[in-house]
Symmetry: C2
């Protein structure tokens, strides 16, 4: 069935690029990396019932499978180019595949990304996407490089996706428009690719928030050999989140909820205003939430300066 | 759990390459494609119970997940460089992960391939591997290019893996050494990378035999706009296969069994002897099994010239 499925997906995701010398349909794709560019590659898997709820619309699944991978390229400051899709599904369901391909293609087109290969197999619904992007040598953003004194910023708002997941639980009966806004953030994350490009040469370190702010900022701190202090009162939260949940719940979602796909990054203090102005022009904005300090670990302070001990330190798929 | 698992795998697959600017541990790997090379990329998934039997040793699973992907690079005449591994497993089982990483690493080391990224998630046991290799522009082997009059050849022997799978069925009680040889071919396929390189500039078309000779040669014929005639009497079969199964069963395994990971390719008739001599020197050998003809479809002739109608036309994971 590999050939029929992948042809169906190919038709719906058609995107012509000169650097694709041979696309879907042979044993491998043949691709030309532009001169003077390094390749940034990442792979991420979504499993039904683990990374998205059973019953999620196929177009949302297709969008999200690509989005979480593009978010990794955004965190590196890379420009997306190509993707491979490994799709495992229980039965050949044309409507499901078409929906999935449509959602994937919607996001792919926005970034001129070409699907260049794939594999379809039978089994429990699982999608692995590998993405490839370009970045000039030495210009990639990494997790290492944050220094004591740097400011810590985050794009957009935090906690919406985790709140959206909570809203899908059967006993939740909440105002529809706010609920829909949060569920949209869960199902249709927007990779911050333009922000990642704008941060090249400015952010000292960067990571995307997939496991939750505390967990991911923790990874950045380990890679940089530093610590961080976060002011809970500064965490950017959406009006939808604050409209449906109390302050304590909203704070926990923002600190540890996961699935945000915002960028968390450090910037020398002198450049914060300039970076914020540019990211505001790009539409996502960036909020200063704390600072890099000597030492290790991530500490959270409440508005009165006391130290918070959140209930969860990020989101681990195995402990969830 | 992503970080602990992938670290464990990284330790066991450590392979240093100058073209890996940033390996496992950030949001994406950063890689440098050598000047004057195109990138060949492929992705393939193995699902427990579909692509390998439940109970397969973890080291065999790790080997096979990489091998089936390297076989795609072999079929393109590409030199392997890097891989990404997306691993989904039901629970964090250190012994299983270590075994899997060891099997993966054994094969990776043989080809100086570096594991540059990955993702580990919870769910039914599934491995998606994406491989990246290099090939000079215009020199890749593809499925298109076979011409009427070309000879059709295949490396190694056919049907062993499918026979090995049959041997694992509980009611099979067969001689141990022959059985082991066939099961080894099922669990530890050897990608024909050296053969693929040797075929650059000589084979007019090439494909790897993963779904079965008839199915895969059929794909080659469609891509080339030709047909093919195969002589059943010429099919290369191992002594283990012929020692355990009768002629009809051995022929069906060789024609339609799948999981062989040999290369099937076409060569202008005048170059057959030279190609065969070179592949013999590489240890795998190549057998002439038929010819490319005008028209379409793959026909099989018996020793007396009559046309065979095999029971199965290749192996489809959804119809299996």
């Amino acid at each position: 069935m590999e050939f029929r499925l992948i042809d169906r997906i190919r038709e719906r995701t058609a995107q012509t690029r000169d650097d694709v010398r041979l696309g879907i349909g042979d044993d491998a794709a043949l691709l030309a990396v532009p001169a003077g560019q390094e390749l940034a590659v990442a792979i991420d898997t979504l499993v039904e019932g683990v990374h998205f709820p059973v019953g999620t619309a196929p177009a949302d699944v297709g969008w999200k499978a690509l989005a979480v991978n593009l978010s990794d390229l955004a965190a590196m400051g890379a420009t997306p180019a190509w993707a491979l899709l490994a799709l495992t599904l229980p039965r050949p369901d044309a409507a499901f595949i078409d929906g999935l391909a449509d959602g994937f293609a919607q996001l792919a087109r926005l970034h001129r990304l070409a699907l260049v290969g794939g594999d379809t197999t039978r089994g429990p619904l699982t999608l692995s996407v590998a993405v490839h992007g370009f970045v000039p040598p030495g210009q990639a953003l990494t997790r290492a490089g944050a220094r004591a004194g740097d400011a810590v910023l985050v794009t957009g708002t935090l906690g919406d996706a985790a709140a959206g997941l909570r809203c899908l639980q059967p006993h939740m009966d909440v105002q529809t428009s706010l609920r829909d806004a949060l569920v949209e953030r869960l199902n249709r994350p927007v990779p911050r690719l333009a922000a990642g490009l704008a941060l090249r040469g400015r952010a000292s370190a960067c990571i995307d928030v997939s496991d939750g702010l505390l967990a991911d900022l923790g990874h950045l701190c380990i890679a940089s050999g530093v610590g961080a202090e976060i002011d809970a009162a500064l965490l950017p939260r959406s009006s939808a989140l604050l409209g449906l949940f109390d302050e304590a719940a909203a704070r926990d979602f923002a600190l540890a909820g996961g699935d945000d796909y915002e960028l968390c990054f450090s910037v020398p203090a002198a450049r914060v205003a300039e970076v914020q102005a540019d990211l505001a022009r790009l539409g996502c904005g960036a909020t200063r939430i704390g600072r890099i300090v000597a030492g290790d670990g991530v500490r959270v302070r409440d508005a009165d300066g006391s130290r918070l001990e959140p209930g969860r330190q990020g989101w681990d798929h195995f402990s969830a």
